[in-house]
Symmetry: D2
Subunit: 463 residues, 4 copies
């Protein structure tokens, strides 16, 4: 079959040019969306009286056959198939004959590819959401098991205050919850149908776009034909959502890499999620987490690629936009591999509660010392200063903070009494932080209930 | 006054280190948010019984005095003011004395700065929305005046089909409408209060976070103290929204630059929005639009900066996060300057309707020729091919497409009749694209009503 | 064969984890480098007395057989082949038996992959340089043919001063010359051998690194084992060089897209480098150039990906670094496709000299008018102002600048005499700019000689 | 004074447009370069006979006076000063009168600003190089003191093999050496003079560009006027060099943050380079290092900004290019603050050699165990496997690797003899890695000599 657009051309396309131009090697992934869009469009043509019901039936049947070929892995790409759209139309002609030439009536690849991409992204976001929820479930399960597992909380990678492992797990739970929320917003904006915009000026055959949209599950139709064919906001937004998710995963990975080091020793990965060294026999490396961390790079890179590609493009469609697909597919593939691995690693990691406990240091209760003074009426700023002097004193004497004598405390301030020792209890410190979102077991249990409800709600909506 | 945290330190901070560390030179912009947050926090301390009502009154009054100093431009930064938080606390102590030292009870700069930033961003998004609506109004006004102003529509910067200037204006209207929509989603996610998370583990003094949130206009409180102090998603998301908006503006600018060139000549900028050359006396350059286009670069760069900074950061707060502010402020400042300039340029530009009309070429109706055949029953694919051959024929004879003789049309296909000439009417071509979102005057008027309603709705919500 | 590193592990690797971890699907491209490195290393082991000459012979012969398999496309990857290194070692064992187990003596995949990557990049830069020179040759040929082809020179996409098409071509020639220069610097820094650094601490078996380097064509050896295995500067630098080259190509493409529009009409692409529309039969789109322009996005994205991935990585090797390969391969593949297409498009494009000439407008000689006054002794600033007033006067009267009467000129300034008309000669204006690098035919011919010499010099060095 | 270019304009510039357009607020930093360029240009005008010697003298004297005003901080910007070029010209006119209007003869702001920027960058790179060398000196000094200070070497943040602190320091030394090398290449490409290119077509007054270049210290003149005014490669390249340097610094910072944590405890920062917490009295945070790490984000963002801004710009100068300055200045300022702080922190940090020693674990000698077997003739692959089994055995028995009994060793393989115990000596392991670049004290001392020579060489060239 000749090209879709060959009528006005005399010379052949250069071979390398063809290779540069053809997108079938990557846009073949849109086959399901493309066939769905064409099926609905065939029916719309019949409704508008542009083809007969019988012709529509032939087209739909032919498309169904092609879908079956793709599903079975039997579809064969031909050298002249520029892209998924021409491949499907070419095959359709082979199956149903010349009536295939009626399918493109009033439709352009410009509105067709925009429709396919939106259908594809809509599905991809559903998968992403489900993969994300699996990671969140793993975090939730670990949290439930460790409401009272004490560990150092860090700021600046310096021991700051005692927290629990549950609180750490839930911090990531909520981070990912925001990602799910963002994907939902993006899905809403994506779910708008461009079909009917034609090449740029709108369909001239009175196609009923509302019915067409309904059939394809779109919640709205685009309001402007120029915008419809040149809008790739949904791709950019999805790529940003993926990039920010990637940043979250890189933080989680960084924590787990540190926690699995000999120096921290807080967790041990299952052998199923670690690898060894070709040279050093003793090594057990957290490769999975390093790859998760590293992949934030490509997720940010893909976002940069598409934003930069779009920058300065004149209205309306420009071929540059074909460059939206590979970064998008790469980001989606990256996440659909890393999220399940992460869920698996989280579900199977072993928490070394005693190593966590051993890393707690009485100096981490210096804030509690200050609070002790506050409770005795001192302004916090003064209390903080006195607690800091206590830390310096203990350090200069080579003592732990809880080893200062009563006299030494009193020398620092008359407000210190014998009961200052009661402050040096990590569990008590945690219990005190009982505000909403705080680290106390009671607050964490409330948080767990919130998290579980949130997850149920998302899973219910997805099903 | 000494540093807030000096108690355990013996040596002085290095001077360059201090310069690197201090953020007052840029975070001073948070003064209003910081004072609002502290005022509400003082009241919360009183409600929790940590300070007396009288003390709260003193603090609130002192803060009000500081606010007045800032508003009047009378606040003087001191060399030891590390950041806006210490500057305000230092000044508060000067005004109200030692009771100032009670304000920080149970609060850390970690939850304080996160609260300030969210308050600041919330306000900034309101301004952005209003600036965006002004640009949209300008586009709407131009669209209303040009529902029947024909011009070439382009794909690939090649003349494609006739459109109207109204349709072009409205394409950008809807692009910006999506930006407004995204800012609204971001604002919703931003409007969550971290205050009460303390340094990382939660407030130990039973602060009532719900009431505090209400007082500050937050719609929710953060659920996890670690997440609360280490979350900068709202900054990243706002920067993305700004970057994508910047990409939209760069496209609008590119079009206007091309349209104001001698070769297109479709529009003329007001002298108020153009500049000249220091060497070439005849030049009138669209500098405003070039800067708008160019600034997409920094908006994307700022997003990259923050995503990269966040990549791989361990839980919870790390000082790297101080690097969130300058990119954010820069993106906001960039837009709050370019959006009004753009609105002004759009409101004052002169549309050269006759130049637009003159750029229409009968070959742009080749699609209408194909549609003519479709209406006579030919499959579109065949019709497209025949129209393409007609274009090639006309080109080879050095004729315009509408100059082919009846015989030449018939030689191409028996389906061409004398009435093929009726196709060569640009207004008719536009009228035919009468689908929702199409370029016909009727469809565009419906679109204008939608756009106006959308704008009214947004403006009502903002007020 | 079992994993290279399985000794200390008890559980199996998770299937998805394996998929995430394995790099064979993309690093198989390193096969030639890997075999070259291993061949040289086998010889080095023999020189150091760690294996016998006979064993070395067996290894080298086995590696030669594997190379032949790859070259013939007969190498079969096995499911357990993690990466190209394990694949080659596995196959080597199948061919030469247990002696294969000696090849990795003192070597780690850490220094091995760094060596492979450097060998690969070194070759890739040679190809890039040659592809670049082909584009430069095309530019040079067009320049030679158009030393006197006048056209408008633009600043701000506004007609500025007359130039020649040769000068336009040569501007891009020199841009690309800087790219070649940068690739050469990068190649020099890449050509340093890490082999012998082991996993991170250095080879313990007294390998002679200098001889090894010589054999592999490296000009130096790395000075520090930690740096050797964790340095990916050469990848980042190569990606930057590709990104900046991509920016240059995007500018060239933008010009050609504009120049091939109906509004400019300066050039016509060969049908071999243009495509049509599926809907609009008359369209001939500069898709090749749009893709070239769009691909700047992914080239910048790939650079961002690798810089972001490297950010904050601790010493020394981390698995994140495996993420250096796909962006690198993508950038190289992108350029090795776009450069030849660009060369082809440049070689075959048709220059419409009369359209270029017709676009010259006497107002573009306003600078020459000012210079006329300067030659009569007026300060340039005053002359510029008077010429500007002449432009404004002509515009207000609806005249071209050269249509002002002698009286009108005199009214503007007594310094204008009848000979002002001689200024309105585009060729004269061009001839006057006769400085080095100027647009005069004489200066351009000198420039052409410089360019040709530069190109000869590069091609000689490459061969 | 009126605008430089006002002749053909009738309406006033809009106030916000002016604010958007004016660049004086940031390009005022180019004052020294601008005055140097103008001084040389005045002399060139005299040499070309366009102004008299006396006039040149007046101009030069006036410029000298302006330079003095800037140097003394007495220069006052006026509201109509668009940019540094107009500011200087305006002031020059105030000082020397109408002859100031002759300075711009044949010169455009296009070639002027390109010249200023190149002069500025040239100087900036000199400063950068010197700041870098100070960091390298600090690393060298620490390395000299710690040639025998054993510590764990890490891959994947897992203990890998024993190394020395000297080797760690030198790894960063060489990383930075490549940065210096790159800056030198960039400086060479920057040091090419665009002056004489005019607005885009070349100087029409026969200016002697070679002499002008010599006077300004340029080593070459640009070969093409279009390229000269539109080339910002040197900015992009400098920004890349800064970004990659920033990535290096982020890695160094990450290591130091980890090493200063309680868990590692390898180093202690001087109080002069650490800060405290507003809430937690015990905290001593490595803020300097976190900021260094975080600033990699903005350095990469600035690069992205400029590359994206340049993407797709048509020939030749476009106002978008004004956006090159702020990212450039920001990257330079960032480095000129962080590099000295880093040098200070490195010079004053305290190495806790006993903590480093204590972190060495006999399992880190598993590679030495394998090498022991290799020295007894086993293929490395088999030796690696046996050593791995020994690690697993020891782990399962809860023993350190050096606590396995002779019998247990023998059970693993008959090749283990009593002398296997001699392997468990960290210093011996380090001594064995005696290859060029290896970690042995002998090799490190050779490396130190190389490094010192390199540094001397750079410092000599700079002076």
């Amino acid at each position: 079959m000749a090209k879709l657009w060959g009528g006005r051309f005399s010379a052949e396309t250069d071979a390398l040019m063809k290779q540069l131009n053809d997108s079938i090697r990557f846009d073949i992934r849109l086959w399901e969306a493309d066939i769905a869009g064409s099926t609905a469009y065939a029916r719309a043509l019949a409704r508008a009286g542009l083809i007969t019901r019988r012709e529509a039936g032939q087209l739909v049947k032919g498309l169904r056959a092609i879908r079956a070929e793709f599903a079975a892995g039997r579809f064969v790409v031909q050298p002249d198939d520029e892209d998924i759209h021409t491949a499907v139309e070419r095959r359709l002609k082979e199956i149903v004959g010349d009536v295939a030439g009626k399918l493109h009536t009033g439709r352009s690849r410009n509105d067709q590819v925009a429709t396919d991409m939106r259908l594809f992204c809509r599905d991809a976001m559903r998968t992403l959401r489900s993969d994300l929820c699996a990671v969140q479930s793993a975090l939730l399960n670990q949290a439930r098991a460790h409401v009272r597992t004490l560990m150092p909380g860090y700021t600046h990678v310096q021991r700051a205050q005692p927290i629990t492992f549950a609180q750490w797990c839930l911090a990531y739970f909520w981070m990912l919850a925001r990602d799910v929320d963002r994907f939902q917003d993006c899905a809403r904006r994506t779910n708008v149908m461009p079909l009917g915009a034609g090449a740029l000026a709108g369909n001239p055959f009175g196609i009923d776009r509302a019915t067409l949209a309904q059939e394809l599950g779109f919640v709205a139709v685009s309001q402007n034909s120029l915008d419809a064919v040149s809008d790739r906001d949904f791709v950019a937004e999805l790529l940003f959502d993926c990039a920010l998710l990637g940043v979250h995963l890189s933080r989680l990975a960084e924590d787990l890499i540190l926690y699995s080091s000999a120096e921290f020793g807080f967790i041990t990965f299952s052998d199923a999620y670690a690898t060894g060294s070709s040279l050093m026999p003793q090594k057990k490396n957290p490769d999975a987490m390093e790859l998760v961390r590293g992949k934030a790079g490509r997720l940010i890179g893909n976002l940069t690629a598409v934003l930069t590609m779009l920058k300065g493009l004149p209205m309306s469609y420009n071929k540059d936009m074909q460059e939206d697909k590979e970064p998008l597919f790469d980001s989606l593939d990256t996440l659909s591999l890393t999220l399940p691995v992460l869920a698996g690693a989280l579900n199977t990691l072993c928490v070394n509660a005693e190593r966590m406990r051993a890393a707690l240091d009485p100096a981490m209760l210096a804030t509690d010392v200050a609070e002790y003074l506050v409770r005795r009426g001192l302004p916090f700023r003064e209390a903080h200063h006195l607690a800091g002097r206590a830390v310096a004193l203990a350090e200069s004497k080579g003592l732990r903070l809880d080893q200062l004598s009563e006299q030494e405390w009193r020398n620092l301030s008359e407000h210190f009494a014998a009961d200052i020792q009661s402050v040096f209890d990590f569990a008590r410190s945690v219990d005190l932080r009982d505000v909403v979102g705080g680290v106390s077991p009671r607050a964490v249990r409330a948080q767990l209930r919130q998290a579980a409800a949130w997850l149920r709600n998302v899973l219910r909506r997805s099903s």
